[in-house]
């Protein structure tokens, strides 16, 4: 399972680093066809009516980015075709594309295999093929390519590999040029989706277990609040600098003056148990809006985050808090890309005209486009009297 939020190694967030310039999602149910869109270096703001496809774009980008890193477990849910362009610090652009397909057979066991395929397909376990290609855009020079369970690195002879696996998941394989850069970007794609809460609140306690001599905090049961608590506890345990940074941001946003971790020893099992309290209140009892902002903060501040996808950051958040949150996000967009989908005029006004991507649905297909030059000119004219949001949400042109 791909995590929304991952605790990982400490890395410096200082360098501006590689970034996503363009993405193409193909064969992703609901979009109605291939969708391609560009991303801003710092901010991308997806706006459009309900049902236009904004959430699908966020899901597709997240699933598509992670699919090459989890080829053995996730591709069926991901876009079956995904392509992206990655800008690098030296000014070059890396292009990458994968395609997921079903296993084909042309030998004498066709019929028998066909039955196996049918059974697997019914159980959602159909064997897959995986094709991918990475190349440098300007020179068209291939870095590596996987086709028919064969790996081609540059001009070297083909290497036979297991079917359905991408290079970034192959162990003990020399990494060709650009693989590390691509992996850094794809692995750095994080998502904070809209909450699916049933409204029930309960105290959250996180248990621990020893892992290679170190204490690891383990998610007690599924659910976003439990996951958030576990991520924070592991950050407290292993990445104290980043945990302190999170606490400072919480104070900055006036969410709480005091964040405390209380640990206990279960007398029966002798396991450690921990809880997080915000001004004395257990994490599980915090308001929906507060939890949402905490989720965004913890993901934003994660050192390895390169591209943060946030669905409707305004949801359940007071406008004053949203303004303060956007200020924090804005500062961190110096070295990571922020992609938000929104219905909020406040979020739209936070951006610049060039950050906007209009998501539209026509003939059952989703399209994405930046503001055209004439739109930008119109925005400039109208900004004398209106805001960007007035033009995006209020104006109808037919």
């Amino acid at each position: 399972m791909m995590p929304d939020m991952i605790v990982d190694e400490e890395t410096s967030g200082r360098a501006e680093g590689p970034y996503l310039r363009k993405v193409m999602l193909g064969e992703f149910p609901g979009l109605g066809g291939d969708v391609e869109f560009t991303l801003g270096r710092r901010r991308t703001i997806l706006v459009g009516r309900n049902g236009a496809g904004k959430s699908l774009l966020v899901d597709g980008l997240w699933l598509g980015a992670w699919a090459p890193l989890r080829t053995t477990e996730s591709p069926r849910a991901a876009p079956q075709v995904f392509a992206c362009e990655v800008g690098t610090d030296d000014g070059s652009t890396i292009a990458y594309r994968y395609r997921v397909g079903a296993q084909e057979s042309d030998d004498a066991f066709d019929a028998e295999l066909g039955e196996v395929f049918d059974a697997l397909s019914e159980r959602g376990e159909l064997l897959q093929t995986w094709e991918e290609h990475c190349w440098e855009l300007a020179t068209d020079r291939t870095s590596w390519r996987i086709e028919g369970a064969q790996l081609f690195i540059g001009d070297a002879p083909a290497i036979k590999i297991a079917a359905g696996i991408g290079l970034l998941e192959l162990p003990d394989m020399p990494r060709p040029t650009h693989a590390a850069t691509l992996e850094r970007v794809l692995r750095g794609v994080r998502r904070v989706s809209t909450p699916d809460t049933d409204g029930a609140r309960d105290e959250v306690l996180v248990g621990s277990r020893l892992h290679r001599g170190h204490r690891r905090w383990v998610q007690p049961s599924p659910g976003r609040v439990n996951r958030l608590a576990t991520v924070l506890m592991n950050r407290w345990e292993q990445m104290r600098t980043h945990y302190d940074e999170f606490c400072a941001a919480v104070q900055d946003l006036r969410l709480a003056r005091d964040v405390t971790v209380n640990t206990y020893r279960d007398p029966r099992t002798r396991d450690d148990i921990a809880e997080l309290r915000f001004d004395g209140i257990n994490l599980g009892y915090l308001s929906e809006g507060t939890l949402r902002v905490l989720e965004i903060l913890v993901t934003l501040l994660q050192p390895s985050t390169r591209v943060l996808l946030i669905e409707e950051p305004e949801m359940a958040v007071h406008p004053g808090l949203l303004e303060r949150l956007l200020a924090v996000i804005d500062a961190h967009s110096l070295d990571r890309q922020i992609v938000v989908s929104t219905h909020s005029p406040q979020v739209v006004n936070w951006g610049h005209p060039e950050d906007l991507r209009l998501v539209e649905r026509d003939s059952n297909a989703t399209t994405v486009r930046p503001l055209a030059d004439e739109d930008v000119a119109s925005v400039v004219r109208h900004l004398q009297d209106f805001d960007l949001a007035d033009l995006v949400f209020r104006r109808e042109r037919t």
């Binding site: 900055d252 500062a331 406040q346 930008v376």
Partner: protein, 197 residues
């Protein structure tokens, strides 16, 4: 000069809540006396212009003696040149002001954060010894982003964000800022005039 022994009350209109909070700190420091401030943060400059007339009327009815209207001088997104300050001031001056309400139109160049660039000690604090204050902060492009970058270079990540502006304003060298930033000088002189300084 406003009011005898009564605590002076002014209205403040700015483009967002962060600017309002920062300006409140600066106005109170300049005034050096207890002063009441009614804050009207707009959500952007368009909203500010649309709502200003009604807010000014509200201030007058709520007993404010003066109003301060702060509007950034933005850049044209097409050519990145600063907009015409005279034209902006004329537009803002056209907004009706109730009788008896004194008004200041304050136009920081590009962003309020430019004022912080006037103070060497403050820049040293943000940049942990890096960075250099400017004798003409209004000539700095994207002063807010420059502060973020300075902070990121010094700390490995951008610890500064605009939520810190009010805190920075508490230690801003007011005299140096007034000498280097014409918009702040106007604000200082207006507030001092109100409180009889």
């Amino acid at each position: 000069m406003v009011g005898g022994t009564r605590r002076p009350r002014i209205g403040l209109i700015a483009e967002d809540r962060t600017d309002c909070e920062t300006l409140v700190v600066l106005i109170r420091r300049v005034a050096e006396v207890q002063i009441g401030i009614d804050q009207y943060p707009a959500d952007g400059c368009g909203a500010l212009r649309r709502k200003a007339a009604k807010w000014l009327a509200l201030m007058a009815s709520d007993g404010c003696e003066a109003a301060i209207l702060v509007h950034d001088l933005d850049r044209d997104p097409n050519n990145h040149e600063l907009n015409d300050e005279g034209a902006l001031r004329r537009r803002l001056a056209d907004i009706a002001v109730p009788n008896g309400l004194r008004r200041l139109i304050c136009v920081p160049v590009e962003e309020l954060e430019a004022w912080f660039w006037s103070d060497p000690a403050l820049i040293e604090r943000v940049g942990r010894g890096r960075g250099k204050a400017s004798t003409s902060p209004h000539s700095i492009r994207q002063p807010k982003e420059q502060l973020q970058r300075l902070s990121a270079e010094a700390n490995g990540k951008p610890r500064y964000n605009t939520n810190h502006n009010a805190e920075l304003a508490r230690s801003l060298d007011l005299e140096r800022c007034a000498s280097r930033c014409p918009a702040f000088r106007e604000l200082r002189d207006f507030v001092r005039g109100l409180v009889g300084g």
